[in-house]
Amino acid sequence: MGRMTFVVRRLAMLVPVAIGVTIVAFFMIHLIPGDPARTILGLHATPQRIAILHKQWGLDRPLVSQYWLFMDRLFHGNLGQSLYYGGSAATIIFQRIPPTLWLIVYAAVLAVIISVPLATIAATRKDAVRDHVVRAIPLLGLGMPPFWVGILLVYALAIKVRAFPVSGYGTGFVGHLHSMFLPALTVAIALAPVVIRALRASMLNVLGAEYITTARSKGVPAGRLFLRHVLRNAVIPAVTVLGINIGFLVGGTVIIENIFAIPGIGNLMINSVFQRDFPVVQGVALVFAVLVVLVNLLADLSYAALDPRVRFDR
């Protein structure tokens, strides 16, 4: 099967997942104990407000028609009314997507910049001191709470040494690069252990492969050998691992955005939780899920682009 068929197949597999995601998002409201409207309004509950919400969310109707209502609204881009801001939840959410995207991409890039050299250092001298040092990094890194790392980084690089701003998104491209460095680094540090491990393992695999011996016996010089033969093959399983951990990368932004006061959807979610703004919480969760699914698709496509064997595999 060619590339096109592969893409189409993957897209088709997304449909049931997408539907399932909407069902889960829809259902969240029904997990709330008691009358959702009353619980959410909490102290602000008055019979009128409860009645309004009941009507808005169709809580008096049977479950299936509620879902229909939900889906119908969804298709029209309506995610409900924010209880806190009063306006359209969708507008608020979409406004805040760019900073989150920035954070995700920036973090992914930094994670790669950190991981590739370290994994290379380790894999090229297996079992040497430097290999053990690099292998120790995930042991420590996996146990570090990202928010804690963020706090310490802010202390070290933004307070003690005023190299970066304590928080915020910045203005303009360079402003973003500067302001978002610490948060992106925090997420990258959380992600790096997993990537280093995967990359090191796949590099070891590749380094022991026959075609590397062939390339050596062709007299391919070390630099070219590393880039076009070793790395080019080693990234393939690593992309898979990165893809599997995408949920973690995207989800980690929620916490970090809050620590660094970045106006993205992660921060919006946490604030909405405290503001008991259920429609926004639900809307953000949905958007996040869609984001993850899309990024996964991207990872799959990159994998197919990188590995020519894949298209012919079934």
């Binding site: 075609y211 390339a215 062709k218 007299g219 033969h229 590995d307």
Partner: protein, 339 residues
């Protein structure tokens, strides 16, 4: 090994020793092997798995695995000893002077790089060809090794080729910088018999056309008979017999060679039954004393267990390591008389 027919040795391997560091001790993979290859000559290197033949080839080209090292000996190519050379110096030799082809072309070709680019890589790196010129050269090579429709196949990936075609690609890669000698590590072992024959004929033709020497490693005697002029037999990391292919295979002068010959199906000389060699290959960490083969040898005598067994020259340009090689002559004579 006694001098080759003409022209003086181009490749002269002298007393090569390769050791591998393993958990249970040091493995003497290649234990004092000497080999001479003349220009345009095809020399076979035969033995069981583990006899050290692949290691010898890799040591010559300097592509030993990380755990293995050349501990003694010289590899002299056109008067220059390759052993002390650095990796970057060796990289200038690999390709333009010496090339290697491998047994399993599926794993020996880079799976994510187009076949044409892999063939063109050598000329780009060593001969300084531009991308276009190197591609031209690759196409020309693909035609020479018999790959049909080269323009289309250039852009294909290794997994889109059959085994025989992949091996042709490997040969094209080996030829790409016009080397003087090609080291072949069991290139036909993984192929169908019919394809095997095609590849062997291709190699033979290419070598006679361009006067390229071959060192052909295999455990398959008929292949050696088909392709090579001289042959060296290895056992346990050591050479046990050398000489002209015809002499060695039809009139072996070492019990191990005799065993090999008897256990191989031979179209020319039909035997009653195939007789495998009893026993197992020797441990290369703690080898037997004296002759390495004595535990499995039906001619073994007391001195075989104790005395060292270097190669000794025999008349007719051959040599053997066996202390009692006449027993082989007697065995063969008896066999022929009886059949």
């Amino acid at each position: 090994m006694t001098g080759p027919a003409a022209g003086g040795a181009m490749l002269d391997v002298r007393d090569l020793h390769v050791e591998i560091a393993a958990k249970h001790g040091t493995v003497r993979a290649v234990d004092g092997v000497s080999l001479e290859v003349a220009k345009g000559e095809a020399v076979g290197l035969v033995g069981e798995s583990g006899s050290g033949k692949s290691m010898t080839l890799r040591a010559i080209l300097g592509v030993l695995p990380a755990e293995a090292k050349v501990t003694a000996g010289q590899v002299v190519l056109d008067g220059v000893d390759l052993v002390p050379l650095s990796n970057s110096d060796m990289n200038r030799i690999r390709g333009p002077k010496m090339a290697m082809i491998f047994q399993e072309p599926m794993s020996a070709l880079n799976p994510v790089m187009r076949v044409g680019n892999q063939i063109a890589e050598g000329p780009r790196v060593h001969l300084g060809y531009s991308k276009a010129k190197a591609a031209e050269r690759a196409l020309e090579l693909m035609r020479r090794v018999g790959i049909p429709d080269p323009e289309r196949r250039f852009r294909a990936y290794p997994h889109e080729f059959s085994g025989g075609m992949r091996q042709r690609v490997m040969i094209a890669i080996a030829l790409s910088c016009d080397p003087e000698i090609i080291l072949c590590d069991e290139p036909t072992t993984a192929l169908d018999v019919t394809i095997q024959d095609q590849i062997l004929r291709l190699l033979a033709r290419l070598c006679s056309e361009s006067d390229v020497s071959l060192v052909f490693v295999t455990h398959d005697l008929p292949v050696v008979a088909q392709l090579c002029q001289r042959v060296a037999v290895m056992y346990g990391g050591q050479l046990v017999e050398t000489g002209n292919v015809h002499d060695v295979l039809l009139e072996p002068r070492h019990p191990y060679t005799l065993g090999l010959v008897r256990s191989a199906p031979d179209v020319e000389f039909v035997r009653e039954s195939l007789v495998p060699i009893p026993g197992a290959p020797p441990s290369l960490v703690t080898p037997p004393s004296g002759c390495l083969f004595h535990p499995r040898c039906s001619f073994a005598e007391e001195d075989c267990k104790v005395l060292p067994t270097p190669l000794r020259e025999l008349p007719g340009g051959r040599s053997t390591a066996c202390l009692h090689y006449e027993r082989c002559e007697e065995e063969l004579a008896a066999e022929r008389a009886g059949s």
